[in-house]
């Protein structure tokens, strides 16, 4: 089930009525019931796996919370009578218990995710004589990471565990984020998830605008481009080299952006209908001036997850700090003394790549990102020296535009791992960019990609509109500047829905494309 199915629209409609009819304190139960129905409709076979995650994480978090409370009470009661060492020993013992609980729960959940997602790939990678075709529950990577993040936060004592099982179950399974995220944090989401918002026509209008805007991006840009990209990167990819590869990687960037941000807009819009604020996942990423900045603006909730739960813990772990100290003593402030930082960067990016999917391409995509980030860090002194020599350059708009274009093209190149099969396929496509010069053929053959001239014009106009909206955001969000009266809200919502109906890729014989990130 996707956002653009009649089943989903019916479910949201029925849920809206139920939600606002119920007394405030029961409204979260309507959301939980809706989430269960949504997930059962997406695939009844998925439900047991989600249940295992909900039950184990809830139980483990309660045990961790109890242990922390017990420790706090014990320390307060025995502070004066016990020595510092005795208290330290007690804390260590409780800490060990918590670590054991945490690891068992982590093993169950990451083991489940790993088994379902990677077993088939590993068997084929090691040429095992048998195959498996296990079910892969919708959004398993998203809900598992969201739940594990919650468990880590409870273990760290960032906040106490949720005591009410049903409230926790809703946090882990809130249906708009099950298709492709965002990956929420409990302390943020819980502020509005259980509130039982009052009915508000303006908020409803804002939610609808966001949903319609997301649908427009998905239907008018992403789905219209899908057949062309299927040709460029499909079985006949070998016929499309040189300028075709360039065209393909730029169109793929556009499609991925429209698809992923469109889906997130719809998730956030649906949340808004119920007064639930989900975290933003994008901040105009294609306007970034370097790769490090790009990754703080694209898929922000995933990037934040890996930063907070993998990258930082690795870097501040005792072995890594000791390693850094040893290398600094030996090599001073040189490239070699930063090896621990680079190792943590590569591990984090390898994990990010593998999170996206089972396949060598995903791992190599992650590692390529890590290597490029390390290179840019290593070259930073050179870059700084260059800017000290030409201090006015950074002030120039043209230079800013050059930095944006450079970052955009770099990200397009890294995404070739997404587009072609295997390192050989990626290499052949990449090298043809510099060896095959067929710009004329690519331009004159655009109609052979399955899109009519009018379809290209529609896609480009919508892309221009998306760029216009993104550029407005620099001075406050487009919504706060332009959608600030009920009349404007409802008019824009209506116009956007009309735009989807008139210009979207749908109709007889059309099946809504799945969201690209839904497969992760």
């Amino acid at each position: 089930m996707t956002f653009l199915s009649s089943g989903f629209l019916l479910l949201v409609g029925a849920l809206l009525i139920t939600y606002y009819v119920l007394p405030k304190r029961f409204r979260y139960l309507a959301l939980l019931a809706g989430s269960v129905v949504f997930y059962a409709l997406a695939g009844r076979a998925y439900l047991p796996f989600l249940t295992i995650t909900v039950v184990t994480i809830y139980g483990a978090a309660r045990l961790l919370g109890r242990s922390l409370e017990k420790q706090k009470a014990y320390v307060a009661a025995h502070k004066t009578e016990l020595t510092k060492e005795a208290l330290g020993a007690y804390k260590k013992g409780e800490g060990r218990r918590r670590t054991a609980i945490f690891l068992v729960c982590l093993l169950i959940n990451l083991g489940l995710l790993g088994a379902l997602k990677y077993t088939g790939f590993l068997l084929s990678a090691f040429r095992a004589p048998w195959e498996v075709h296990w079910v892969l529950p919708l959004g398993i990577s998203f809900y598992t990471f969201q739940s594990v993040g919650y468990l880590i936060d409870v273990k760290r004592g960032k906040y106490p565990p949720e005591k009410n099982f049903l409230r926790y179950a809703l946090f882990a399974s809130f249906f708009p984020q099950m298709i492709q995220g965002p990956i929420s944090r409990y302390d943020m989401l819980s502020k509005t998830l259980y509130e039982g918002a009052d009915f508000d026509m303006d908020r409803l209008g804002r939610g609808l605008v966001r949903i319609a805007w997301g649908a427009a991006k998905k239907l008018i840009v992403a789905d219209r481009l899908a057949p062309a990209l299927g040709l460029l990167f499909g079985a006949e990819a070998g016929n499309y080299r040189g300028s075709w590869v360039f065209l393909g990687m730029v169109l793929y960037a556009l499609r991925l952006y429209a698809d992923f941000t469109g889906g997130i807009d719809m998730a956030l819009g649906v949340g808004e209908l119920f007064g639930v604020i989900l975290p933003e996942n994008f901040d105009r990423p294609y306007l970034s001036k370097n790769i490090e900045e790009y990754w703080t603006r694209w898929h922000m909730t995933m990037g934040g997850w890996f930063r907070d739960y993998v990258f930082y813990p690795l870097n501040v772990s005792k072995p890594f700090l000791k390693w850094t100290k040893r290398l600094r003593t030996k090599f001073g402030d040189s490239f070699l003394s930063r090896l621990p930082l680079y190792t943590a960067t590569l591990i984090t990016w390898l994990a990010t790549g593998v999170w996206h999917g089972a396949g060598w391409n995903y791992a190599l995509w992650g590692l390529t990102n890590g290597v490029v980030i390390i290179l840019s860090l290593t070259l930073k002194p050179l870059y700084d020296r260059f800017h000290r020599r030409f201090p006015s350059l950074k002030e120039k708009k043209a230079y800013g535009a050059f930095e944006i274009l450079r970052t955009f093209l770099l990200m397009c190149l890294i995404r070739l791992w997404d587009c072609y099969q295997g390192p050989g396929g990626v290499w052949r496509a990449f090298s043809s960019l510099f060896t095959v010069f067929n710009g004329d053929a690519a331009l004159s053959g655009l109609d052979a990609l399955g899109l009519s001239l009018s379809a290209w014009v529609i896609v480009l106009c919508m892309a221009a509109l998306m760029l216009f909206v993104s550029l407005q955001k620099g001075d406050g969000s487009f919504r706060t500047r332009y959608l600030n009266t009920p009349a404007r809200l409802w008019t824009i919502a209506g116009l956007l829905l009309l735009l989807c109906l008139l210009l979207g890729a749908y109709g007889p014989g059309y099946t809504a494309s799945d969201f690209i990130y839904g497969q992760f």
């Binding site: 760290r156 004592g157 960032k158 490090e292 900045e293 703080t296 930063r307 907070d308 990258f311 930082y312 813990p313 870097n315 501040v316 700090l321 850094t324 100290k325 600094r328 930082l341 943590a344 860090l377």
Partner: protein
């Protein structure tokens, strides 16, 4: 460690920022995750101040004053 020593560490990373008054260092993306890791490593190596992953939250790194308050808390524990 003193506030002045902390300012030295921060200025080494970004000589162009006035860390005595700057706020929102994380929120406004003045400090990157690599800067944060460098600060933690420097604090551990030179001043034996050990920050845990739990301490690395925006509130503690948004200003030099907030970071110094955290360091003092850790030193007093």
């Amino acid at each position: 460690m003193t506030f002045a020593q902390l300012l030295d560490i921060l200025r080494d990373l970004h000589p162009d920022i006035d860390f005595e008054t700057a706020e929102g260092l994380i929120d406004h993306k003045v400090l990157t995750s690599f800067d944060v890791v460098s600060i933690v490593a420097e604090l551990s190596e030179t001043y034996d101040v050990e920050l845990g992953a739990v301490d690395i939250v925006p509130e503690n790194f948004n200003s030099a004053r907030a970071l110094f308050a955290l360091i003092q808390r850790i030193e007093n524990e």
